[in-house]
């Protein structure tokens, strides 16, 4: 029975609608909004199931000038409301005085971060064992001293060479070599034979450094970074005098996950373990939203409370592309981690490092 009734209902409704529409077309009433609302209300009464809320949107206005006007009005109104709300809140706070509730922490994608199960627990025995016996254990146990070879992609030009030189002034015991068109896989055994512990290859595109391969020797791992926003010493304002040859201190910030720990250890092993505090120089690797910011500073304690810092440069931003087990072998090597775009960064609140 129900089924037979429904279509009749429907028919009448559709007829009504049609007639209304034709009416509209003929008369073209000025106050459209009211009419629309009324029709919407009628529709609502007729069919509660199909719930289309009576919305008025500026983008539906066909006349461009009028649309623009309405949009400006809307924006102004919104702004007014916002300001009023702000004023009200401030007054409330002032009225309450000390009893005022604490200010809300602004929402950022970092403090809304999705929990990562690989976050390293410092008391975890297994991870501690894994880290204690990895490829960097020789360095962290004080058995080896870092010795770094810096080279570039073939035929470096312009900024890349200067960037390499400045990098070599930051990293103690670093040697810059011209690439001479040699294959990396043939360089690596020679480096191992000469007791190098790191091979850094700076890649360039159109005279701008854009990639960095950081290969720990003798048996890996190899990390590949994207390099962006490189500022050489000359381009930094208010920089200090050129850095001295003292071993700098190293600060590693925010490397929390298991992958982050590996990367942090990779950076830490670039520098000698005993910083010379006389030099008052500090190299910082700050990780934020998977971007690693490198800065090089000189500090001074002005008095008991104040510290002055002075940037020495260069400045650069790194983003991890891949971490490969073993020394450089991009074709047949096994990757421990690869950045898969659109798959891994689909969630903006998920971070890998």
């Amino acid at each position: 029975m129900d089924i037979t009734e429904v279509p009749t209902n429907q028919g009448s409704k559709s007829k009504k609608k049609k007639s209304k529409k034709s009416m509209k077309a003929k008369t073209k009433v000025k106050n459209e909004e009211v009419e629309e609302e009324r029709s919407a209300a009628v529709e609502k009464m007729n069919e509660p199931a199909a719930a289309f809320p009576p919305t008025f949107s500026v983008s539906e206005i066909k006349n461009k000038q009028r649309r623009h006007l309405m949009f400006m009005k809307l924006k102004q109104e919104k702004r007014k409301q916002k300001l009023q709300l702000k004023k009200k809140r401030r007054k409330e706070r002032e009225a309450l005085g000390d009893k005022a509730p604490p200010k809300e922490v602004p929402k950022t994608i970092e403090n809304q971060r999705v929990f990562d199960e690989t976050t390293v627990d410092p008391e975890d025995e297994e991870v501690a064992f894994d880290e204690g016996t990895d490829e960097f254990s020789a360095y962290f146990n004080g058995l080896t001293n870092p010795k770094v070879l810096i080279t570039t992609s073939d035929r470096p030009r312009g900024r890349t060479m200067r960037f390499c030189e400045q990098l070599a002034s930051v990293i103690p015991n670093a040697h810059v070599y011209y690439r001479r068109g040699l294959a990396l896989k043939r360089i690596i055994p020679q480096c191992v034979a000469r007791n190098f512990t790191y091979l850094i290859v700076v890649n360039e595109d159109r005279q701008v450094p854009n990639g960095l391969v950081l290969c720990h020797l003798p048996d890996g791992p190899t990390a590949h970074f994207k390099v962006s926003s490189v500022r050489l010493r000359k381009e930094i304002k208010r920089r200090g005098k050129d850095p001295t040859e003292h071993y700098p201190e190293v600060i590693l910030n925010n490397f929390t996950t298991r992958l982050g720990h590996s990367i942090g250890r990779l950076f830490a092993a670039l520098f000698p373990q005993n910083p010379q505090f006389v030099g008052r120089q500090v190299a910082t690797f700050h990780n934020q939203r998977d971007f690693i910011f490198f800065r090089f500073h000189r500090y001074i304690f002005k008095n008991e409370k104040k510290v002055g810092i002075q940037e020495l440069g260069p400045r650069l931003t790194l983003k991890l592309r891949s971490l490969q087990k073993g020394t450089f072998d991009s074709k047949y090597g096994e990757y421990e981690w690869v950045l898969k775009r659109h798959e891994m960064d689909a969630c903006r609140r998920k971070f890998q490092l």
Partner: protein
């Protein structure tokens, strides 16, 4: 300890030498080892079941020992030395009729060990750089080996002098250059003599020893990176392969086309195994996660973080998860039905009620649809 080990359905061997059992029902992972005696020399390189009842598990460590783990008791019961650390890591491990062990090391020595004698009973040389040795599930005397510059060889352990089948290298390419060989993993296709291999040059080959052709009868390619592991699902015609960048794909064995990819991995695949009866595939690798994907919709079902790099993987042949709870519950329900008929009627009533409840809502939905259609 014993309870935990009995519940585990997935066993994983890690680079730190820890045997891990995962209970998917309760989403728990257990470490079965002594944390004080950890060392990287005990890195687990191969895992296999010691007997057909799956109460014993054999674990090949890279220092050349094979340890026996009892899943009933949850302890290591036995350890025996099967070769030296100098000969390379184990590339394969299998049990022969429950009493003997077949081991294969990277240098190519394939040995059969019996429980009563300390030395190997039989030994054969499968050539250098063996990447994988696998045993045929049908005939336990048949094993296949293959590696770098070492083509697929099929051996009969009764006649260890000569391989039963040796694969021939691929035809030279269009520049008349020799094509290199690098078998990374292989598997026996059930209900036929055929074998499927995956190579370090991102190819998948199907060999058919029953025909005189010694070159592959089918060649398929996937991706650009070396394929590291492969597994055959219970439902035939496909093969699951994984590569060094953590891409897993289902390939069709009839034409060699990609049927679909499994997403979610971030590091190299070290081991893959399909479940014997369910449409599930488990993968583990350098990203330290054990992942279980459904082969039907290719969606990830489980993801377990296991803290170390994982080398090898072993699934129990009983149902992994729902089987543990759901399957037994269903079985229990059936028994109850047999015992008491009243319960049957109770349950039927309940079903009817549900149906009645559903009807009006379903009808409503239909009405709405019709209305929309009418408009």
């Amino acid at each position: 300890m014993d309870e935990r080990s009995r519940l585990c359905t997935v066993w994983v061997g890690s680079e730190t030498g820890i045997l891990k059992g995962v209970d998917l029902d309760r989403k728990q992972a257990f470490n079965f080892c002594n944390t004080r005696t950890l060392s990287r020399e005990q890195e687990v390189r191969a895992l296999c079941w010691g007997d057909s009842a799956e109460s014993e598990l054999l674990m090949g460590c890279s220092d050349g020992t094979v340890r026996t783990f009892s899943t009933e008791k949850g302890v290591f019961t036995e350890a025996r030395s099967c070769g030296d650390a100098q000969e390379g890591c184990f590339s394969g491990l299998a049990s022969l009729r429950g009493s003997a062990i077949i081991t294969c090391v990277e240098c190519g020595k394939l040995r059969v060990w019996r429980e009563d004698s300390s030395g190997p009973v039989a030994e054969l040389d499968a050539g250098s750089n063996v990447c994988r040795m696998r045993q045929s599930p049908v005939d336990q005397n048949r094993v296949a080996t293959g590696g770098k510059e070492n083509g697929l060889k099929l051996w009969d352990l009764e006649r260890p002098e000569k391989p039963v089948f040796t694969a021939k290298n691929l035809r030279d390419d269009w520049l008349d250059l020799r094509r290199p060989h690098w078998v990374k993993d292989m598997s026996f296709i059930p209900d036929s003599d055929k074998m499927v291999t995956c190579t370090g040059y991102h190819q998948v080959h199907v060999f058919d020893p029953s025909t005189p052709q010694r070159r592959p009868v089918l060649e398929a390619e996937f991706g650009e990176y070396p394929l590291t592991a492969l597994s055959l699902p219970a439902a035939g015609d496909t093969v699951v392969v994984g590569n060094t960048q953590g891409q897993i794909a289902l390939l069709d064995l009839r034409k060699g086309l990609v049927r679909g990819c499994l997403k979610g991995l971030s590091g190299s695949v070290r081991a893959l195994q399909c479940h014997a009866s369910q449409p599930l595939v488990a993968s583990c690798g350098l990203d330290r996660f054990l992942r279980i994907h459904s082969l039907k919709d290719r969606k990830p079902q489980h993801k377990v973080y296991l803290k170390s790099r994982l080398n090898c993987l072993l699934l129990a042949s009983r149902e992994l998860q729902d089987g543990g709870a759901g399957g037994s519950a269903e079985g229990g329900a059936e028994q109850e039905v047999k015992e008491e008929e009243d319960e049957v009627w109770d349950s039927m009533d309940r079903v009817e009620e549900e149906a009645i409840k559903r009807k009006p809502t379903g009808g409503g939905g239909e009405e709405v649809k019709r209305k929309k259609g009418g408009d």
